[in-house]
């Protein structure tokens, strides 16, 4: 019927897969309780509660319009920028309520970085793209510090070797995959705890996608990563935990292997076997 190994083979190395199970489950980094999102009168998310572990990749999967991106955008309050959007419930990141009226959303977004579906580098130089975040948050005092942050971030994003000789060239002149890694470097440069990725590979070719996936595997040592993806293979390859959404509801969540091999809900099974979606 459904062969889970077909999905699992795609993982970026069996060692990584094995390591997931060896790793003790860390304290939840993000805790969402009864989160509902409304766009005007329309309810896009129905009372979702979910724990997202730290230093791991959590994937949100589900058919289009199921609320997974909406839920992701709650974690850095990007929904605030949408006219008429309203969020109910509580979301705690490292023990602090991010919807606390006293919390400064600018500070939150420095802690929770985001990578978007379409690579969106600023039409500025590669250097300026990475340096922008640290600069507005006042993270560095000297030019040398900034150079260090830019190089470090580009290295961690696996882009340094490709761009080190043309840092002053426009970030928009890079290839799609490079642009997306530049966006990841830009997010890392601010020193966040969490990186949200909203379908980061949907506009990329398979080779660029593979690079980003490798990078995610690398980054999860230091960051909590939440990724929304349309590709179930990608979720299976990169994530340790998977949450399946359908029609604004969280249907099921658990260790990725379990979701893909022995889903407990009928809808999950139908989705991952390609009956709908």
């Amino acid at each position: 019927m459904f062969d889970a190994s077909a999905f699992m083979q795609g993982r970026s190395g069996t060692d990584a897969a094995g390591a997931v199970h060896a790793q003790p489950v860390t304290e939840p980094n993000i805790t969402a309780r009864d989160v509902s999102v409304f766009y005007g009168q329309k309810r896009a998310l129905h009372s979702v509660s979910l724990n997202i572990p730290g230093k791991a990749v959590t994937a949100f999967i589900g058919p289009s319009g199921c609320g997974k991106s909406t839920f992701l955008r709650c974690f850095n309050r990007m929904n605030d920028t949408i006219e008429g959007a309203r969020v109910e419930g509580t979301i705690m990141i490292d023990g602090s309520d991010i919807y606390d009226p006293n919390l400064d959303v600018v500070e939150l977004r420095a802690r929770v970085g985001m990578v978007f579906q379409k690579p969106n580098p600023f039409p500025k130089s590669i250097y300026e793209n990475v340096a922008y975040g640290p600069r507005i948050h006042g993270l560095t005092r000297s030019r040398a510090d900034m150079d260090g942050i830019v190089e470090g971030s580009l290295r961690r994003a696996g882009l340094w070797e490709e761009v080190k000789d043309r840092l002053s060239e426009s970030g928009t002149g890079l290839s799609g995959g490079q642009q997306q890694r530049l966006c990841i470097a830009r997010a890392i440069a601010v020193g966040p705890d969490v990186i949200l990725m909203d379908e980061p590979c949907s506009a990329l070719d398979p080779i660029a996608t593979a690079k980003i996936e490798e990078l995610m595997d690398e980054l999860r040592r230091n960051f909590t990563i939440v990724i929304v993806t349309h590709s179930m293979q990608q979720a299976a390859r990169v994530s340790q935990r998977t949450a399946f959404f359908h029609l604004g509801n969280l249907v099921e969540e658990g260790p990725t292997e379990q979701i893909f091999t022995t889903p407990s809900d009928r809808r999950t099974q139908d989705y991952i076997t390609g009956r709908f979606g």
Partner: protein, 454 residues
């Protein structure tokens, strides 16, 4: 299933036939549409071509004007002015200034016209001496002041003979350029038969020539001496107004557009504001003139005919244009750039200042320059705030009385000395159009220069 499959070939062939049948009709419609479009373009272009051809044909000759080059003898018997006072030892500067002013007043009172008459008579047959009045009118009246200014600059030339190029009278210019039908009866011609003979005599002697009309650019408007009427006053008036428009409408318009587009909540109030701004752009300009007259002149008490008031009125007219184009430009900035900045923790002001505005700059510049160019050509509101008055001075400040380029065109167009002012009007139109084309070229240049691709 099987029924559908068997039906298929037949359906296919019949639908192919239908497609073929409709093809001719569709292609014909396309050809018709293309022809109508091309006709519209050709029609529009030909109107522009006719306009330019007319203006250039009439205006370009007006950039050259008839002058008479004569040796003028600065006869001390005519001028009768004591030598220029020199500062004496022990004299206070104030007392010297007073003496100097008295000397200048004396200069102004001298009979400079007589010098020009004498110079002309020297070149004309002896009997002309009995027709001094006719001779005097061959040279435009303001040239007397030229001679006075020459003496004021260098009193040493009194007693000497200097060759001076003098502007001929407007009627002489018309006669020389053939802008009048020479076969008309004496009663219908501005120059009497003697004057016409004198002009021809001077011309035969090679004393008359067509010189570049610097008066057009350097002089102010003149009624007594139409040949020396120029655009300087109107030009400076327009310049003051444009500066006021730029200084006021750009910051206010761009700030309003940014607020409405990036910060204001979308609700009924902002919808209402948006509708009203769009409506303001369509308000006839003369209404803005009435508003300016009521608010700035009657209520606030600003002076009539002042470029300041004109600038304020034109600012009101330009604001909607700038707000609308700036908003359209801001809306065209991809939202992904805003998301990227906001996602990094940039505040809204930082997002706008660091990312949105730099990208919108070329569009804002274009909108601004087109708005300013529109204001430059606006006439109707200026008529209502008194800027259509005859002003024979260059405004030194925006509060002085002044006129503006388009208003000057309107005034000249209505001048009774038609044969002369038709050319002047077209020349002024060429100057105004050149300014507009320059502004639009600047807009295109800036857009190309600052445009960034992503």
């Amino acid at each position: 299933m099987s029924a559908v499959t068997s039906d298929l070939p037949e359906t296919r062939s019949s639908s192919a036939e239908k497609v073929r049948g409709s093809l001719a009709r569709r292609h014909a419609a396309e050809r018709r549409f293309k022809a109508i479009g091309m006709l519209a373009v050709i029609l529009g272009l030909s109107f522009v071509a006719i306009l330019f051809a007319t203006v250039l044909r009439k205006g370009v000759p007006a950039f050259w004007q008839t002058t008479v080059t004569l040796p003028v003898h600065f006869d001390p018997a005519v001028v009768k002015v004591p030598p220029m006072p020199a500062p004496q030892a022990g004299q206070s500067p104030a007392a010297y200034q007073e003496e100097l002013t008295a000397w200048r007043t004396m200069l102004a009172g001298a009979n400079w016209g007589r010098l020009i008459e004498n110079a002309l008579l020297a070149e004309l047959p002896p009997e002309a001496a009995s027709r001094r009045r006719d001779v005097q009118r061959l040279v435009t009246s303001s040239e007397r002041f030229r001679l006075r200014d020459m003496v004021e600059r260098d009193p040493g030339i009194i007693g000497q003979t200097v060759t001076v190029t003098l502007l001929a009278d407007a009627n002489v210019d018309i006669w020389m350029k053939g802008n009048v039908d020479r076969s008309l009866s004496d009663a219908q011609l501005a120059l009497n038969p003697e004057q016409r003979r004198y002009v021809d005599t001077l011309n035969e002697k090679g004393l008359m020539q067509q010189s570049f009309a610097t008066a057009l650019f350097l002089n102010v408007d003149s009624r007594a001496s139409p040949a020396s009427a120029g655009l300087a006053g109107a030009f400076v008036g327009s310049l003051f107004m444009m500066l006021i428009v730029i200084v006021l409408s750009v910051p206010i318009g761009v700030a309003a557009a940014i607020y409405l587009e990036e910060f204001a909540p979308k609700n009924r109030l902002t919808d209402l504001i948006e509708i009203n701004i769009n409506n303001l752009a369509a308000v006839p300009s003369i209404v803005f003139g009435l508003l300016g007259a009521a608010v700035f002149i009657n209520w606030i008490g600003l002076p009539l005919s002042a470029p300041l008031v004109g600038g304020l009125v034109l600012t009101l007219m330009t604001l909607p244009t700038i707000i609308i184009t700036t908003r359209a430009t801001l809306r065209a900035i991809p939202p992904s750039i805003r998301s990227a900045a906001v996602g990094l923790g940039a505040s809204r002001v930082q997002t706008v200042a660091h990312h949105v505005l730099p990208l919108a700059l070329p569009g804002i510049l274009t909108g601004t320059i087109i708005g300013v160019a529109q204001a430059l050509g606006e006439t109707a509101p200026l008529l209502l705030i008194g800027m259509s008055a005859f002003v024979a001075s260059v405004p030194a400040t925006p509060l002085d009385q002044s006129t503006a380029l388009p208003v000057q065109i309107y005034l000249w167009q209505g001048n009774e000395l038609r044969n002369f002012f038709e050319g002047r009007t077209s020349a002024a139109i060429i100057v105004l159009l050149s300014l507009m084309i320059a502004l639009n070229a600047l807009a295109i240049f800036l857009r190309r220069r600052f445009e960034r691709r992503w």
